[in-house]
Structures are given as structure tokens and as C-alpha cells.
């Protein structure tokens, strides 16, 4: 399944019942140098649109929202030592957390890459 995006600049990859979530290249560019990432513990239940993580840059601290509801299974251990991965590889090694989906139909409202690129261009 291809990557989907939210209006809050998170991306989500879904494979089977599990999904990987991160923030987009546009988001990291707006944040500037990321200095700290606060990630959810495995087992935490998150709801679509609710706070799931916090990303702190030299400019500001921002909430990262869960694109869909589910239960966190793992957060990216590499970000604790090297938060700059969010800047250098936001849509790859800089992923935030993985979760199991509780309602796959919540994916329906999300944007595909073309729609997200058009959304960013409109900002």
C-alpha cells in the first residue's frame, strides 16, 4: 500500500495490520534543526488526530498527531541518540513509531502523495 499523508504533515505506511508513522520532509523543513523527539511507549493507545509524540526543534516544540487510531507497538530507538535523523531522513530512517490499526477505514480520509504535494503547494 502506498504512503498516505495528513494535513498535519504526518506520513503513514500501512503493511497488513501494522503502520509506520513519521513527519514529512516539508514538516522537518518548517521545524528547522530537530533537537529532541518524545516518542510514545509501546502499548500506548492513540486516537486519530490525538497527540502521539512531541518534536522539539531550535525554533519550537510541536505535537505530532496520530494519523489513525491504534496501539503503539514500537518507537524508533535511533531518534533518542540522533534526533537529526528527522531532518536528514524524515521519510525513511527518521520514522517516529509503529502501531497496529484499530480501524482501517480511518485511512480513507488521508491524502495520497499527489494530493499532499498539492496541499503543501497551496500553503
Amino acid at each position: 500500500m502506498s504512503r498516505l499523508y495528513t494535513q498535519d504533515h504526518e506520513w503513514i505506511d500501512v503493511a497488513g495490520g501494522e503502520a509506520t508513522v513519521g513527519i514529512t520532509d516539508y514538516a522537518q523543513g518548517q521545524l528547522g534543526d530537530v533537537v529532541f523527539v518524545d516518542l510514545p511507549d509501546a502499548g500506548r493507545a492513540v486516537t486519530k488526530g490525538g497527540e502521539a509524540a512531541v518534536v522539539e526543534s531550535v525554533k519550537a516544540a510541536s505535537d505530532v498527531y496520530a494519523p489513525v487510531s491504534g496501539t503503539v507497538t514500537e518507537s524508533n530507538p535511533a531518534l533518542a541518540d540522533d534526533p537529526s535523523l528527522v531532518n536528514s531522513a524524515p521519510e525513511a530512517d527518521g520514522w517516529f513509531f509503529k502501531l497496529t490499526l484499530s480501524d482501517a477505514s480511518e485511512l480513507d480520509g488521508l491524502m495520497d502523495k499527489a494530493a499532499y504535494d498539492a496541499f503543501v503547494a497551496s500553503l
Partner: protein, 520 residues
């Protein structure tokens, strides 16, 4: 270009295009002196005082005495004096120039306030003195409380909170206590995007669930969204007025009425009261609790110059839950009520927030400010603060992006975004650094978050038109040059004691203590 190293290990070189040498041999720049750290300069072997050898003393520390030297360097008296004087010259202060930090209200701290605060009857008393010996001090607290209640149109005030966020805590704990007294389980607090960032933190700390209310395109609370969200689960609304975009919230009364209709309370963040003091009484707008930053509105020093003080005015509904202690008039004089009993306070106080009664030194300064200005003078304070901010807004809005200028005048601070720098690769940060080179403390940057690359300029009423014109001139010059020749502005400041620091490295790998590599 020369590549010689100067005495502090940095290359001396020419500034491109000017022919000027950027680094001197000593690292000093004319009379601005480069100053090493104490640990780099001092020696363990020197001392400023000649003490006789210590005679042997019996160890009474039970083996817990220090077994290694602390390693603090010693200095002669002139060395120590010069070290701190040199450091102080690298600092910036309101006594040096305009300090246009939006949301902070860096106004002049009148010297009369300082004189009053140093009167022995105020300066040399102790909180544990018998109350009969400090009747004047208690009267000062009582008179200040009366001014605060009159200026806000509120029936009660808690004087002890020690800063703005501490005042928020006081107000929200009082709301929680009022709900608990009714066994009311509601726990949702609505906080608009235009509120101060401490508001949601305070609500969360008090055990409430925070929900955001969006701002509208005029930088105010979205009234429809607010009204639509109100319901029986809403404990309170926390609203900042004037808000953090420097704009008055004209719908506050309607919001208050609607919140009260569903059984909730209204907390107003009064950090920006300086824009409306003498003009608007928050009590008339239906506010239940509001903190007042004496260190902003009433000119007491802050930002390293002194402690804050954040008294909280309370509505009749919240007054019974106010913290102890408080001053009460009795037949024989004034009394500081330290215990909450049925006879004094309906036995409903939520308790004590601080050891004693608050920031006495700030109370003296604030009352000095109020009495020297008078009621008419305080009204003019607000009017001049708003006038100065609008002068800046009007003088810059053709060049800087002013996102809310179309919705009318601002209050005490003017908000700009860096959208006008689009395409240059420059942002608010570069502009702030350029202002340092021009000799100004930059404005507040990247706050509030509701606009891109925010620049929040609060001149305060204490700046003259000439000072404002100088700041405006510098801001226009810098912005015009940044648009004309962006590349020259990516590396500022060029003339400050330090150039652009690596904020990212400092945040990712902070070094918070000096470690002497030789001693370690």
C-alpha cells in the same frame, strides 16, 4: 586576506568588502573586552584575601567532610571586580536601550520605585516578625490589593502568587476547588490558540483535559467554534486578553456569558493587562480569575533584574477558595490571616502557595508606580503603550508582512510574519541577528505560533518617538537590504562579542558544567 591566529585562537581576517580587520590580536574590540571564563583565568593558588593558617579543629562532620579540593579558582579583588564588570558590559538591559520583546513588557523600571523599596521599614523587615511591628507593611499590601481590585473590577485578590504562571496555577486550583466543593466532575478546559503557551500547561498540571479552540483569520478566538464546544463537561475557558497576537478579544463578554450558562468558569490571562489598565475592567467582561503581572503592567523589574509577582483577582464565586495567607482588617489594625478557619474564611481556602505572603519588594514598587501615576496616569500608560505599538505597526506594515493589520489597530504589541522574505532563503532568525548588529535587542521571535516566523514587537509606553523612529529605521534598513542582497545576511551578527552560535549542537549535546580537562 590574512590567516594569522590571534591571541584567543581565532583567525584574524578582513571583513569582505570593508577592508576592516574582524579579529584583533587580543580578541578585544576597542573597549569591548574579551573575557575568559573564571576557570580559564583564575588559579587555585591565588586568593584575594590573606588568611592565617587554619588551626587544627576536631572533625564534627562524622566522616562526611570533603576529602578533595572543590577546585574553585581564586582571584585578587580587582581581578574579580573586573571579571564581572566586563561580563556585565556584554549584556543588554532595559537601562541601555529599547527592549522590544513582545509579550514581555520590558518597560522602564522607575527609580522612584527603587527608592521606596529601600525604605528601611520595607526593606529591613522579616516575615516572621510580630505582626504588630509590621502594620505599615501589611497596610501597603492591603492598599495595593484595593488598587488591583478597583482597576480590575473584581471583589477579591490573592496576593501571594509569585509570577504569571504561578498566578495561573492559583486561579486554576481555585476553579478546581470550586468544582470539587460542588462535587462537579467536569474536567475539560478550553484554550484558544491565541492564548499564552503557559495556559494549557497550567490546566494540564491541575488535572484538566485541554482542548484547543482555533483562531479565526483576524487573529481572535473563533467564537462559533468556542460556543459550539461548550457543554456540561467544560470546567473552564482560559483566554488571554489582549491576546498573544496583540489583539483585543471583543467577544470575551459573550464567551463568558456562554461559559457561565453551562456552569463553567472563565480564567483570563492578564499578562497583557498593561494594554487596557484604566480603560477596561476585566470584571465587567465576566472574568472569574485573572493574574496580573506586577513585573509587566506595574513596572517592577524582571528578566534577570528581579523576581516576578503575580497577584490573582477573583470573582465572588471563586473568592472563598483563595489561598492563605491574606490581610484582613480588624478592630485593632491589620492582621495576616495564616490559618483558614470557619470564622475567617468560610474554611474553603485551597491552602497555601508560598511560605509567606508574596513578593513584598515588588508590592512596594508596584504601589509606588500606581500612586506616582494616579488613576489618570495609569490610563495614559495603556493609551501610550497602544499608541506606540500602532506607530510601529503603521511604520512597518508596507515592508514587513503584518498578517492581522487589515482587521484594525493592534493593542500593546505589533505582530509581523516573515512571509515578506519568501524566496530570499532568509527568515526571522536572520533578521533578529541583523538587529543585534544594529545595537537592538531583537523582538520576540517565532512566537506566537499562529503566524509563520513570528516577530512580536512590544515597544511599551516608556519609549520616546525618537527611540521608536530609530528602531523603525533600523528595521526598515535591515529588511530592505535583506531583500536586495540576501547573501550578505546569512551569517550575522558580525559585530557582537560572539557570532552565530551553533544552537542545534548546544541543544542536542548540551555542556552544562565546566570540566577542567587537567583536573579531570
Amino acid at each position: 586576506m590574512t590567516t594569522a591566529m590571534n591571541n584567543v585562537g581565532r583567525p584574524t581576517r578582513l571583513v569582505a568588502g570593508t577592508g576592516a580587520v574582524a579579529e584583533t590580536f587580543t580578541g578585544n574590540k576597542a573597549l569591548m573586552l574579551e573575557e575568559p571564563l573564571l576557570f580559564e583565568r583564575g588559579s587555585l593558588d591565588t586568593s584575594g584575601v590573606d588568611l592565617p593558617p587554619v588551626p587544627p579543629v576536631p572533625d564534627r562532620l562524622g566522616g562526611l567532610g570533603r576529602d578533595a579540593v572543590i577546585g574553585l579558582p581564586g582571584f585578587s579583588e580587582p581581578e574579580a571586580v573586573r571579571h564581572y564588570t566586563r561580563l556585565s558590559r556584554q549584556n543588554y538591559a532595559i537601562d541601555l536601550g529599547i527592549f522590544p520583546l513582545g509579550s514581555c513588557t520590558m518597560k522602564h523600571n522607575p527609580r522612584l520605585n527603587e527608592k521606596m523599596a529601600r525604605l528601611p521599614g520595607f526593606a529591613d523587615i522579616h516575615p516572621l516578625q510580630p505582626q504588630s511591628t509590621v502594620q505599615g507593611a501589611l497596610e501597603l499590601i492591603d492598599v495595593l490589593a484595593d488598587w488591583l481590585m478597583k482597576l480590575t473590577g473584581m471583589p477579591a485578590v490573592a496576593m501571594s502568587p509569585k509570577a504569571g504562571a504561578h498566578g495561573e496555577l492559583c486561579g486554576m486550583v481555585a476553579i478546581r476547588a470550586a468544582l470539587d466543593a460542588k462535587n462537579d466532575p467536569r474536567r475539560v478546559v478550553l484554550v484558544p490558540e491565541s492564548a499564552h503557551g503557559t495556559n494549557p500547561a497550567t490546566a494540564a498540571f491541575c488535572g484538566f483535559t485541554v482542548e484547543n479552540i482555533p483562531a479565526n483569520d483576524r487573529g481572535r478566538v473563533d467564537l462559533d467554534a468556542m460556543l459550539a464546544r461548550l457543554g456540561p463537561d467544560v470546567a473552564a475557558v482560559m483566554i488571554t486578553n489582549p491576546n498573544t497576537c496583540g489583539l483585543f478579544e471583543p467577544d470575551l463578554k459573550r464567551i463568558s456569558d456562554a461559559v457561565h450558562a453551562v456552569g463553567g468558569y472563565v480564567y483570563c490571562d492578564g499578562a497583557n493587562f498593561n494594554a487596557i489598565v484604566g480603560r477596561v475592567r476585566p470584571g465587567d467582561l465576566g472574568v472569574d480569575a485573572m493574574h496580573i503581572n506586577l513585573h509587566k503592567t506595574f513596572s517592577t523589574p524582571h528578566g534577570g533584574g528581579g523576581p516576578g509577582s503575580g497577584p490573582v483577582v477573583l470573582s465572588a464565586a471563586l473568592a472563598p477558595f483563595a489561598p492563605i495567607p491574606f490581610v484582613r482588617k480588624t478592630a485593632t489594625g491589620l492582621e495576616l490571616v495564616e490559618e483558614d478557619t470557619a470564622g475567617t474564611h468560610a474554611n474553603q481556602s485551597f491552602g497555601r502557595m508560598v511560605a509567606f505572603h508574596g513578593q513584598m519588594g515588588m508590592f512596594v514598587r508596584a504601589l509606588s508606580y500606581m500612586m506616582s501615576h494616579g488613576a489618570d496616569g495609569l490610563r495614559q500608560v495603556a493609551e501610550d503603550a497602544v499608541l506606540n505599538a500602532n506607530y510601529i505597526l503603521a511604520s512597518l506594515k508596507d515592508l514587513y508582512t503584518a498578517p492581522f493589520a487589515a482587521s484594525g489597530p493592534c493593542m500593546h504589541e505589533a505582530l509581523f510574519s516573515d512571509d515578506f522574505l519568501d524566496g530570499t532563503g532568509l527568515s526571522t532568525l536572520d533578521l533578529a541577528k541583523a538587529l543585534i548588529d544594529e545595537g537592538f535587542h531583537p523582538m520576540t521571535v517565532y512566537f506566537p505560533l499562529v503566524v509563520h516566523g513570528a516577530m512580536l514587537v512590544e515597544p511599551t509606553e516608556t519609549e520616546s518617538k525618537a527611540n521608536l523612529d530609530q528602531l523603525i529605521g533600523a528595521m526598515r534598513h535591515v529588511a530592505t537590504q535583506m531583500l536586495a542582497d540576501p547573501d550578505a545576511w546569512r551569517t550575522g551578527p558580525h559585530f557582537a562579542p560572539r557570532r552565530r552560535l551553533d544552537e542545534t549542537l548546544a541543544a542536542r549535546k548540551p555542556v552544562l558544567a565546566f570540566k577542567d580537562s587537567e583536573a579531570a
